[in-house]
Amino acid sequence: MNPEIKSYFPILKQEVNGHPLIYLDSAATSQKPIQVIEALKEYYESDNSNVHRGVHTLGNRATEKYEGAREKVQKFINANATEEIIFLRGTTTAINLVAQSYGRANVEEGDEIVITYMEHHSNIIPWQQLAKERGAVLKYIELEEDGTISLENVRAAITDRTKIVSMVYVSNVLGTMNPVKEVAKIAHEHGAVMVVDGAQAAPHLKIDVQDLDCDFFAFSGHKMVGPTGIGVLYGKKHLLEQMEPVEFGGEMIDFVGLYDSTWKELPWKFEGGTPIIAGAVGLAAAIDFLQEIGLDEIEKHEHHMAAIAMDKMSAIEGLEIYGPKDPAKRAGIVTFNMKEVHPHDVATVLDMSGIAVRAGHHCAQPLMKWLDVTATARASFYLYNDESDIDRLVEGLRSAKEYFSDVF
């Protein structure tokens, strides 16, 4: 990876608690390059206006930028058409839309919704709510010991009563990359739709929704060097066409009568209210930035970082790493615990050395239960991290261990 990349991220040029900042929490949210920050600034300074309505020039420019961003996203994930790209607040909103619209219309009492033990809360609770409302059964696919998913277990869980299978592409805790393409095939054999939570995948791998043949794919801009508050739901056109909106109001309507109204065509019928225009513009700039470097290159870098980090971290006595041991099977996410030092304490000690890691349950409580821990620490790497960051982390972890063994 080109060492210049780090220099595009202004936030990384600061000191935290007297040390140069080492940001290892990109799985929570990524930092933003100057190109994205400039795109937002330029939009607000030159083009800001509401879209799809004004006759005036600014309105046209804003509309062109907003719809241009949609086209960019379409190509980024290789969707068949721009109608299949819906701009929403983020992955959570996208999955909720599928649950509330597609789910309510298609899941009946006794039907099954299948998810896994490694889901983020945003891919659990929408289905719990739907299952409770419809009297459906929520089923969890068991994990293998190393935190991977076997297709045998997938086949065992999905039946002809299954209407929806929803699975994370890359786990935000274990870093596991799941075989969503194969799972989609199994889901389809049983007449179920396949929903993919791509929040941790879109920033790190080349996404091809047609190749995956998933029915829905959700992701967030802020995890892929874009702004917060913008996300995407991809859905196959024939499914989106039969779905009802869940938010009603301006922008999404065609004709409004006193007692009844009709909706715009796709994708706008799902985008009620003034859309997230600046967010979409920022996301487009983020996609440009990532594509210039190359998603293949980014994925390679992450496997490399995961391999080095796992190697160096496991040399620390009493440090346990969760998830697949093979770095080729995981993204740049390393979740761990240190014997005798609680993850919050690890995170505080690291923070005093300017190193940002996440500590807690990572919005994945069922997975924590499966791992039989209440909390873990997590270091996640992105394109702006390099090996020297890993060395600082390892040094910090050794100090934490020493500090706590001294006080004991």
Binding site: N17, H344, T348, S353, H361, T374, A375, Y403
Partner: protein, 146 residues
């Protein structure tokens, strides 16, 4: 590493309570049970209180969490045991002020709890320290209602 700053947070007495927690366990009979967790980080406390005639006769805790949350729970049980409910609640208010970095009433002897003062400099950790106190307040209020 800035171990001076860390020493402010992890005072010896805190580590002592973490390592050898006081009043660990559960009171089986005539007690009020409170389960409380910190949903953002997974810290969990199970507190049992025995309140008779407006006095906290006994307090025990169990749970999982970081050094700050467990040490704070240990100190809290030690502090409120034998106190009347009003004093216990007053101490909780003082502790909350201390955590928020506000001026606090120093007329009440807080004992070991004073050691947690450094936590106020670590905003992300304040919730760890206040969890046990929140549980105690809830328990006392439940007891009053019943």
């Amino acid at each position: 590493m800035s171990s001076n700053n860390l020493d402010q947070l992890y005072r010896q007495v805190i580590m002592d309570h973490y390592k050898t927690p006081r009043n660990k366990g559960t009171i089986e009979e005539n007690s009020v049970n409170i389960e409380m967790n910190n949903p953002t980080c997974g810290d969990r406390i199970h507190l049992t209180l025995q309140v008779e005639d407006g006095i906290v006769k006994d307090a025990k805790f169990d749970g999982e969490g970081c050094s700050i949350s467990m040490a704070s729970a240990s100190m809290m049980t030690q502090a409120v045991k034998g106190k009347d409910v009003d004093t216990a609640l007053k101490m909780s208010g003082i502790f909350s002020d201390m955590m928020l970095g506000k001026e606090y009433d120093d007329s009440v002897d807080l004992g070991d709890i004073e050691a947690l003062q450094g936590v106020s400099k670590f905003p992300a950790r304040i919730k760890c320290a206040t969890l046990a106190w929140k549980a105690m307040e809830k328990g006392v209020h439940n007891e009053e209602k019943s």
